[in-house]
Every structure is written in C-alpha cells, then in structure tokens.
Symmetry: C2
Subunit: 342 residues, 2 copies
Amino acid sequence: MRIIVDAMSGDNAPHEILRGVFAADDEFQASYIIVGDREVIETTAKECGHDIRRFEIVHTSDTITMEDDPLSIVRAKKESSMAVGLRLLAEGRGDVFVSAGNSGALFTGASLIVRKIRGINRAAIASVLPFDPPVMLLDSGANLVVTEENLAQFAVMGATYMKNYYGVENPRIGLLNNGTEECKGTELRVSAYKYLSEYDGINFVGNVESNHLPFDTCDVVVTDGFCGNILLKCVEGMGKMVMGELVKLFKASPVSMVSAVMVKNRLREIKHKYDPTEYGGAPILGIAKPVIKAHGSSNAKAFKNAIRQAIACVDTGITYDIARAAEGFRAKKDSENNGEKQ
Amino acid sequence: MRIIVDAMSGDNAPHEILRGVFAADDEFQASYIIVGDREVIETTAKECGHDIRRFEIVHTSDTITMEDDPLSIVRAKKESSMAVGLRLLAEGRGDVFVSAGNSGALFTGASLIVRKIRGINRAAIASVLPFDPPVMLLDSGANLVVTEENLAQFAVMGATYMKNYYGVENPRIGLLNNGTEECKGTELRVSAYKYLSEYDGINFVGNVESNHLPFDTCDVVVTDGFCGNILLKCVEGMGKMVMGELVKLFKASPVSMVSAVMVKNRLREIKHKYDPTEYGGAPILGIAKPVIKAHGSSNAKAFKNAIRQAIACVDTGITYDIARAAEGFRAKKDSENNGEKQ
C-alpha cells in the first residue's frame, strides 16, 4: 500500500507531520510518498535519525494555509503540497492521501481533483464522535446547506464506514433534530424524515437529539455541515473543559494528588477518549479514492493515528463499497427520471 | 411578589412541582398562586405537612402534555393549567409565571396570551450554559428560523439578562458559527455578522465556535433555535456522559472508592455544575411579563431553583429593561421606514 502524505499543512507542519510519518513507517506495513519541501523533509529525517531513502519525495515549495480560500487549491495554489498530493492520488500513484491542512480546501480539492464517486451528489466530511459505542457524524462541516437526498447518501456512506471499519452490522441511522417526533424541526428535517423512512437499504431509526447521542441511540447521525460542525466542536470543547476540570480537581491538594494516583489508569482512559489526537482523522467520504483529513492541530501521534486510519480505510474497501452502493443511487435516479418521463 | 405556578405540567408533576413550591415557600419571601387540580394540591400539601391556607389555588382539571401541539394552548387546551396561569399573569394577578411543561406551548402561550413587548419581533428561550463564566444562549429552541434582526434583538435581550442577573458589565455578544472569520457560515450568518457589527448598543465580538464557548469567549451567544437546541442538548448530554464516567471511575474498585472520598467536595461541585436541576429554568425573554420555563424533568429542587430565578428576574427588572431597549428598536424601525419613504 502506498500512502501519499501532505507534509506541509497543519498547525504543526512540517516537523510533527514528518515525525508522525516516521513513527507510522516504523509501525505499519506501507510505503510513503511525501509531498513538500525536499530540504525540510531531508533535514527533519536526519534530525530524527530516519532513513530518507525509504521514501519517495515529491518536492513542492507552496502551501495552502488555514486562511486560504478553499478554491485556491485549483487556482492560485495549484502547486501547493495539498494540490500536488491530490493529483498524485488521482493519477493512481498512491492508494490514499492524508493531510492536516485547511478542511475546506481539502474537501474542494478532493471533489474537483480526485472527483466524486459517480452517483454521489455531495461528498461529506465524516467525524467519529468519541462515545461508547462511537457515533459517526456526517456532514461535519463541508456542506452548509443540504437536501434530503444528500442526507440519504450521507447515511449510506456513514453506514458503509461503520460496517467496514468497526464491524457494526446494519448500522442505525439517526437524523439530528430538536425532538424525536416525526413533525419536529425545520422544513428540511420534516421532509428528510419522510425521505429517509422510505429510503431502501438504510436502517433509519428516526430523529435523534444531541443529548441522547452519547447513549447508544444510533451508529450514524446525519445533518447539514453547519449543525454538524457546531455539534462536533461542542463535543470537543466539552471534552476539553471537563478534562481541565479533572486536572484542577486532582491537583487541588496533596490529598487529591494521592487520589489521582489511585485511579490513574482509568483516568488515562478517559483522557484518551476525549483527546482529538487519539482518534485519527476524518475521512472525506464519497470521493473516488480515500482522503483523510487529520486534525489541524495534529502532533506526531495524531498524524500517525490518521495514517493508521488511512490504512484501515483502504484495507476494508470502504471507497469500493460506497461506489457499489452509489450504483444503486444511479439506478434509483434513472428509474425516477423514467417515471417522470412516462 | 406574587408567583404564579403551573402545578400540573412536567415529567414529575404534580408532586415534585408542589414539593418545590413548598420548599420555595419555606425559603423565599413571596406569595404563590398555584394553578392545577385543587384536590391533588390539597392532598399533596397535607402529605408534606404544608399549610395550604398560605396559597391561592386556582382550580383547573386540564393539562397540556408534552405531545400536545403548541397551538393547543389557545385552542383545545384553553383551560389547561398552563393557559390559565398565563392568563392570570396577563391580567396582572401575579408578577411572574413558572411552568415545567411543553416548551413550545409555553412559548406560544406566552407570546399570544401575555404578549410580546412592543418592538420585539420574536421572543426567545434563553438558556444558561454551565460554563465558567456562564454563557447565555438564545434562542435555545423556539424560533427554528430567524432573521439577522431577530438575532440582534436576542443579543440585546441576552445582554440585559447577563447585566441584570449576573452583573456582567457590557456583555460580549458572539454569533455562533462554524469558524471565526467574517466570511464563515451560511448566508444568514454572513449577513448577520455585518448586521450585528453595525448594530448600536451591543458589544459584538464576532463569530464564536462551539468549542471555544466554555473558555470565556463571550457572555451571550446568539443563533437560531434549531442550532441552539442542538448545542444546548449537546452540552447537557456531554455533562451527563462525563458524570457517568466519573461515577464508574470512582466505583471501579475499593481503592478508587477511597480516592473518591478524598476529593468528594470538589467532585460534588463538578456534579452540581452539570446537573440541570441546579441551574434553574430558562427565561422566555421578550414577553411583556417574566415567564420561566423550568426543565421538563424538574424534581422539587429544580423547581425551587426555577422559582428562585423567577424572583431574581422580577427583582432585577429584566423585563422592564428589555422593554426600555425595545423602544430603541421601534425608534430605529421608524427612522428606517422614514428613510425608505424619503
């Protein structure tokens, strides 16, 4: 398996990204194409004592920043590490692309350079919420406005991911809403409820409220990218806040510090659970080849975990299975169109 | 001060509601009009050993349930405890109304029976998020679709609340969005950013993301009721999940149980922080008289806390100050209209 890596994007690029790649190289069976500034890559490899001859380096000197317009990836920043990496993926030079850069640009570039799977109207950024069991949220930020058909396709893509990656049989699909009753929510939600209920091949369990999500109500939750982003970041912010409070709790006095030592293993588990660097990246689903968005603030560990996820995405054939499902979307569309014509 | 109470609405009505009223009666300086089934009220008072002669009881036998359509409050359920209570408030028989019932019905009833303050286009349900410092969120569920003008009015109402209730000077207003940059979000958000930036008399600090809300970025966050509801419930769900994990952590072994004892005071503080029964109710702002929505699952303590909040709302003259601010909205509107005519 060949993994294409954007070495130059993200808050801690290139050093932490590269250290993540080297760690992944030590741990996983894969080869790497590193896209970025050759000199920086070689220097960092030397600093880390990592044999650079193991990697193919594709030199670029431009980088997309967090402030750049998403469309810059196909315009002014065509030679950025992200754009070049996506082109390599499109050309079949690698099996999967990982970047910690600007989400909007990555999403736009993936859709326009690598292209969407035929039959998929909109790709989606899919994020795993750290609940027990985990819940996949999509869209978590790319499509601010969606249709019920988009939501149905998100449902199918999310279900494929949960089935292939986590082994969830017949994943339960929930529609994020402000109440459980069928009549709840905006116009879109009311019509989406009906649409999803009647949609073949998904296990729709109805509306779900965000306070019930942590408690095993569904495996996949679908919504527009605006609400999805609010939800995702709320989960992240609450996790961070609570961890901060626990640290304060345990550091308050010598007695509480002793108390912390007594529960330190379980405490570490909770910390891991809410640590965004632990749960890898967010796949962009609906693209013809796997693209993984690593967290913008990825350190080496986070980026290594995103690579782990990239490998699993390829190994479990998620993109292939989504493409197969999308043939069904096209058949459905065709029969609807024929129906209309008659 | 006279407090009108809906004894019959809420998951734990009437017993927990009444026990909350009796506890409030023991603790606060106020008198009460209890609306509900006279026999149930008298029996419960007897059971609790509380002197029923202290209260005015207004008998009703009908109740609005959580499943009832919000508009039923002015139609089929005109004689429900909630509708009767709101009429008493409108007639000036009491200073504030507290109910743990159907939010939609309470909001609709408050808007149609007690009426909105002149100049306010839409009232809003305002919820306090349990952060340090607390953040007021509005709208948290009533207005699924809003305009930028609605959001500006929510900002003024929320700021008035934070100033009067919490003593926050010049409260910072944030617009909930999926990024901090001016260009972020849906069409509404982009135009609302501009509108709020140019709006006189509010301290607009720009877009805020939900992961930053717990960390002192603003005092009031405005959004539509759909996203607000997702956010509010996410905070609630995450709080509940984390408390559940802490309980598991500390109950895991004899050693961890000893550990819990060592930090029990601070642990209790954290528990209180995320306990919805602790932080009272959600005021419906923009109504001509104060109306407080207690949490649907209120127990006696939660309802007592909602009454405490009701008293503070009256004491600090929040409704009066919002009405004064609304005169400014009307003046603005008039001058805009005159400008258009010219």
